[in-house]
Symmetry: C2
Subunit: 445 residues, 2 copies
Amino acid sequence: MSNNLALFTDLYELTMAQAYFDEEMTDDAVFSLFVRRLPPQRNFLLACGLDSVLDYLESLRFDEDDLAYLASLGKFSDRFLAHLRDFRFSGTVYAVPEGTPIFANEPILEIVAPLLEAQIIETFVMNQIHVQTVLSSKAQRVVIAAEGRPVIDFGPRRMHGIDAALKAARAFYIGGVAATSNVLAGKLYQVPVAGTMAHSYVQAHEDEREAFRRFASLYPETVLLIDTYDTLEGVRRVIELANTLGEQFKIRAVRLDSGDLLVLSRKVRRLLDEAGLGKVEIFASGGLDEHKVAQLVASGAPINGFGVGTSMGVSKDAPDLDIAYKLCEYAGTGRLKLSPGKPILPGRKQIFRESKNGSDTGDTVARADEQRPGRPLLEAVMRNGERLAAGRVDIESARAHASRQAARLPDRVRAIKPAEPSYLVEVSPELSSYQKQIEDRVRAM
Amino acid sequence: MSNNLALFTDLYELTMAQAYFDEEMTDDAVFSLFVRRLPPQRNFLLACGLDSVLDYLESLRFDEDDLAYLASLGKFSDRFLAHLRDFRFSGTVYAVPEGTPIFANEPILEIVAPLLEAQIIETFVMNQIHVQTVLSSKAQRVVIAAEGRPVIDFGPRRMHGIDAALKAARAFYIGGVAATSNVLAGKLYQVPVAGTMAHSYVQAHEDEREAFRRFASLYPETVLLIDTYDTLEGVRRVIELANTLGEQFKIRAVRLDSGDLLVLSRKVRRLLDEAGLGKVEIFASGGLDEHKVAQLVASGAPINGFGVGTSMGVSKDAPDLDIAYKLCEYAGTGRLKLSPGKPILPGRKQIFRESKNGSDTGDTVARADEQRPGRPLLEAVMRNGERLAAGRVDIESARAHASRQAARLPDRVRAIKPAEPSYLVEVSPELSSYQKQIEDRVRAM
């Protein structure tokens, strides 16, 4: 896989850049990144992906290999390719911190940069904020449903590619997931790694007892997977092992991965308790999502933690967001388009979030220079292509921020059911009037 | 992003490998990769991702940095880490060629290798076959719906991460997509790249006429996007431009990206034709999937090509497959598990596809050494860790294979509606009896 991502862009970004270059359209543009509508199954989104965007903007370079490929397409002038050879991102980025809850039509990020620069970064910036926000938002729902029980990421095998699986582990951790099974993500992002054992280990041994005995002797505090052949037989074999080992038995938990998890967890709990193994916990996995987790928790299933894979890993119920990166100002003039159902709020903006007694009550999207009640959410994270302190937030701080900010949301919004009424987001009168003014200007063209 | 993907694995793969190492379980294992059930909206899947798997297996190495990280976890012995330092994949891989239609419970790939080797590659192998098969299968549906009109991949901005977007461009091309907007994918995989212009280009100019005139002067044969402000006004401005430029006017097409595409395409077609611009084609995009494309085609919409983004890019209606990589033999003995709803066919297998008059009629999954009617689909693509000729198939050949193989499927199976009855897949009597024998053995443990 390529490390140089300068060409990770849609072809039209570069043909437009060639045109801007020829036309000497070098003024600053403002592009705004926002989600037009939330999926019906999301009351809010958890902004994520900024760190990857800033890494990319700092290191964006076209190398000779890239330029040779572009030249081979026959669409670019030598002068333009020479310009790309010296390309550096020199703009300013305003963003909400990673782990901030956001709503429809609220800018997650705004970029102020010469038009050509702000244009060619579109594809990468959208891609990363999109996937990481999709995944952190889904994960936080699962974490909320688990009501304090740890949730472990088991998704790498069915996520969409290597990059998604790595970024997911990070986004999930920010969203409150306790650990990932993904070793490379652990190494790259300092996320805790965790894991148990697979059916293949049990199958490869001549019998299940032998598999349990061997694995426990190597990893005394491990989690044993008990459903390869028969869950209740499996737990009996764990109990036999405890009887054999006595004081040496330190198995931390058993894992259920199939069948009716509520019924089985109760039976397994009873068998363990009757054997004096009250300390051995029950860990459940297998096709879980936030709704199944919530149901198990509500039913009082004696489950101490959850391994969640595919449904969280591909955000199965809402794998995409209606995310847009739109030009909203060029050369000092607000810009928008009139395509039906796709409004743009012109100019640079700010989000003000109001609260009452420590609980957030609603947001107003305003022009950037307005003073309004509530705390402003967008802050400068990069200036002239260089990261500012606010653009260097470590993963633990982002996780803590996400948890604190989610706790401030009204209960109905934080819930996994659709919020009724939904969280209030308004546009300030000043921004509305500016939008009207720009619309009139465009219609008069 | 890391180039070294040895640690792209679930933690338990490595703890199990440590256990196999300590227990001297060095015999060969057979793991089978298959999809347990097709999503209800898929009549078949288009196998894809083998090339990435073989690349990975050839180059898999643990570097010192990886070993230091593993050592820091406190779960691995020095002897085992030294073993990983010298790790090379030495196994044999059997697979169906990329672009082969496959069905539930049919092995896409079987790996024969020492247990430890076959175990630790699980996560990567599943991840890549999964995402690429998900995406190629979805894309082929869109291509079938377009009935010969070109389909262009517009999805990179909303696909799940960089790797998915790159692999998608390749998988889509194999599935019959004509080109991608993703420049890096074009460079890496020699997929044709294509693109038009964005709303931002039109917005950044003082008016739409100026934008069209400028872009057409730089790229005379381009596609002009006409819905930024008003689609019908937009096409009138294209016609004005044609009148002004006369012989110089060579615009290839206009693009519609919002509104009612059927109604607008008819009106735009009429306006173009009345202006003597019968050669200017209409290209449509905006929230398309195979169903919308099929409907436009069935309604006779005068649309010459489709740009398809998010829905294809995340396979929105079926973003995941119930894919499994399961131990089915160890040390010469068939293996399975008895977990409810998750059967495993033991031992190494072959798929025989029967046909009549050039049309495929049904498959039989059999033991690998059986001789049965029909053509065998699995072939050796790697032996002793080295690629065989059958493992070196270029992308154009894979694309041609996919197209030929899909053409052999019964019409009801190739259709985008659910096939009734579904394609017939049987298990051979010999394999059934072997499965029964192994089940009895396991139950008697």
